[in-house]
Symmetry: D2
Subunit: 306 residues, 4 copies
């Protein structure tokens, strides 16, 4: 998020618009946690992971009463427009504010890539590289030791991250919420890899798939499929790390567009990547639809893992 | 190129098409350096930089006589179609072969991203990440030592790499072939950064820009602009390294598409990225046009470096 | 292990000694899986993780009958001395062979660093860097989200890796086999970190410590200690990856010393790092003692986590 | 330096000693740039490159008059002892202060590793890893393209960095100030590598060696040695980057020892690594001797590059 914040502040500065940062999201908004941000304040943050503004959950903002208070805070501070960077929940919050008449532009940031209206959300490419580097390390040792590995990635509702990771890591099995797979299917694919002479097998499982990771490991260990199976749970490692080149460019372009849209009065929108272009899409559309992983990649991954 | 090669072999295998790899490019083609490639031969290469088929220049292939001999080799070996992975020169060679009636599909691979017909060539994203990580390291020490840094990147004719690197690294000055900049302009921008209170200044210069790197360093050192200026020449570091997530996915998709196109008879084409889609573009068009860096990014970079 | 293998082959080559590689360890030795290794065969492997010779378990070698057969294989092939690279089990095997009169020199390689007779085994520094990079990523997001993280590292019997990782990652809690810690102790330390105003808490737990990772997470989640707790299991990621600078130098020096020792007739020994020097220690001593983590570091870590 | 600063502050805190940080070195000391440092101020800095205290040159401190004023500043602020982290110049400054009666303990930090009294200075291991990763990238592309690469590293007076980098990168040629090498010697070694069938050649040259990098490249290009030669100048990239595991542990141990030494009254000393132990050595000895690269490694590197 930091490269996006930098772009927002510098673009606004260029357009002679003052920027006030809100610490810890909607919760900080309610508590009046604001700070003026100058061009210098965002110097040197482009390469830092996380966000200098920090984040927090806000149960109060979920209630209409809380949102009203937020509106009062915003107006009281003389703020004329808001940029909200975040995931599905943040976009819902952004939409609620626009419904109350306040100008808001959203910027999609979620490693799950489950937000409707953009090809890629901020953080996805960096998370994919983190998963990929972890699996590369497993492959090094796998080739030496004849092992199968189950790697659990993020993705409660959307298998995008696991599916893409599966393709770029050459996974033999990919487990995602969008496609039911049985323990028997997993075992068959791993046995098949062993029979074909592969030195290792990689299973990538989204958090939200129907099989518990330990169950898969136990099932494979019980079957004696040829490989020994080992478990890795990546967890929040996927959320951190310095943003990569793709994410920095996307964040920069989205930040510039968000400020331009606010100034142009195109509010109640979220910026998004559509092919090569940064576009805007109505927040009402964003919050009413759910993005799913492209299931066509599932079959491509299977073909390539032969 | 390795992830692309893997996708080509596995897709062909799936379609019951035999694959023969040619070592060391057109030169190896002339010398009959062929090897059968099975699905197992490309196992474990997805994470490796470079190419297992190696590359080489071929002066002989530049002559019509040499190309005729290549054609004879191809036909003699019973090869029915060719996938050529490479840069501008390779696409020209591919085009010449198609003009002689042989079915060829090209895959664009060039860190300069100067090939017409694709938004991104293979290797660009990985090279950008390499430059970015190098500049991140300079920024760490720059903040501590009040220094300016000139980093020379690749790009003889096309400033794409330097321009994008400039944006994602927050460079104060970007020097590219497409836009003339004087020593005085550079000095002014660096002095301005110092005056604004920046702790360091980053100058990113494409190899093919009009100012010699050492001249820039000498000019700045002579002027006493506040910062001390230091030089880094990245050189071929930019060509190596494990391919990143974006490149692996792009390479995989392009490899699948190249085989599908050959089989479908859509030859004399290059596969390319157009927005989100992998498309094909006629090789005749590819070789007759030159891609340039998007100059609109130049002004965006300047605005964001304030 | 690859940089060590390279040093062994090149040093032997320099001393006009022929080298035969044995694939897949003692198991491959029994199956006659040998290959001549020339100076060229180990070109380009210094930067690769794992080992080109692969590894495997050998139940047969655990029996005296199996070892006799191994001896027969070695003598039959005209092999005059053996270098065994591996962990505690491999050093036991090496010792058994020397007891049967065959010249063997061991090289300690184990990320657990639990082998007696060397300050550092091969792989430890690379594994430490892998853990450190993972925790760095957690810290990025932790600072943004107010979370506690439990990271499980390798180390069934020896807490070296977890203890050192704890120090270099600034962990609030370190759980190792050598020091009993209760769930209540963990909770107190995490609450204390929260009370002191820390933005996150890091718990590093060796695989062999007495608390199950999920139990710790559940206990902390139940107590509402201020942070939300998330789990990462690194698994075999720690065994892979390109060897770092320290490991490459150590592996090179140990490989040179192993060959020199064999030639000098100082066999039945293991090479080891003692301060700055590469020394040899009797295999009989290596197999009769167990290295433990330096418990003095435990208190240092606690002092520094304030 | 950040992990060292963290250890200093936390150890002092534990011993109930207040810590005041001086910004920008001796120069900041003269300008009264001091800030109290609490345990919280050094939270989250262990993984950051550079130093939060920044650094600067101080011509004024080179004069006795300037040092007298520094002494007055220190005494005026009620400061009872000083820890100086830095290279050879900083250790000389530290020594001058102790000669004037002020208690100082030095911590050696210099990627050149040219400071007498310690096996390793802070930053050396991280710099070695940076060089190694760069050369790994060159090797990837070198294997594909039949190229020779000249990589210039830091090291004006001391070839330690280039020599160690040469060993761990498997360099064919190493150029250091301590050992004269002619252009003809370089060419012979590169030609020899080509003749032996190597796919590439690596030349690592310390900044302070007697051959200018461009001269070497021109000489090799003129001779047609088989490989094409390309130049990389790493520059200050080597000074930056997140500290690695070895450096963080060394920095932590040295920081703890520095504070303990000050409290114990063992001043006018520098902490150092001696084998496994952190020891102290008199500053008078440190400033009167010069550490050189271990020339025995030079011959080892040559043997291993065969």
């Amino acid at each position: 998020m930091n490269p996006c914040l930098r772009a927002i502040v510098r673009t606004a500065h260029f357009e002679n618009v003052e920027v006030v940062g809100v610490r810890e999201g909607f919760d900080g908004l309610l508590r009046g946690e604001r700070m003026r941000l100058t061009a210098r304040d965002v110097g040197g943050i482009i390469q830092r992971g996380g966000t200098i503004l920090q984040t927090a959950r806000s149960p109060e903002f979920h209630e209409r009463k809380g949102r009203l208070r937020a509106l009062r805070e915003l107006n009281g501070a003389g703020i004329e427009g808001l940029v909200v960077i975040g995931g599905d929940g943040s976009m819902h919050g952004a939409y609620e504010l626009t419904e109350m008449g306040f100008p808001v532009v959203g910027v999609p940031a979620s490693i799950d890539n489950d937000i409707w209206g953009t090809n890629m959300a901020l953080g996805v490419d960096t998370a994919l590289n983190t998963i990929m580097e972890a699996v590369d390390k497993l492959r090094d040792t796998a080739s030496s030791h004849q092992r199968a590995f189950l790697i659990q990635t993020m993705g409660r509702n959307c298998g995008y991250l696991a599916l893409m990771a599966g393709i770029i890591c050459g996974a033999e099995v990919i487990l995602i919420p969008e496609r039911e797979t049985s323990l028997a299917d997993v075992a068959e694919a791993v046995e098949d890899a062993y029979a074909r002479g592969k030195t290792h097998a990689i299973i990538i499982a989204a958090e939200g798939n129907s099989l518990a990771p330990q169950d898969v490991v136990n099932h494979l260990e019980g079957l004696e499929v040829g490989f020994k199976t080992r478990l890795t749970i990546l967890g929040h490692i996927q959320r951190g790390g310095r943003p990569g080149a793709f994410d920095r460019l996307l964040a920069t372009r989205m930040g510039v567009k968000a400020v331009e849209s606010l100034i142009a009065g195109e509010t109640s929108a979220m910026v998004g990547l559509d092919g090569r272009e940064i576009t805007t899409v109505a927040l009402s559309e964003v919050v009413s639809r759910q993005r799913e992983a492209n299931i066509e990649y599932f079959d491509m991954a299977r073909m390539l893992a032969r």
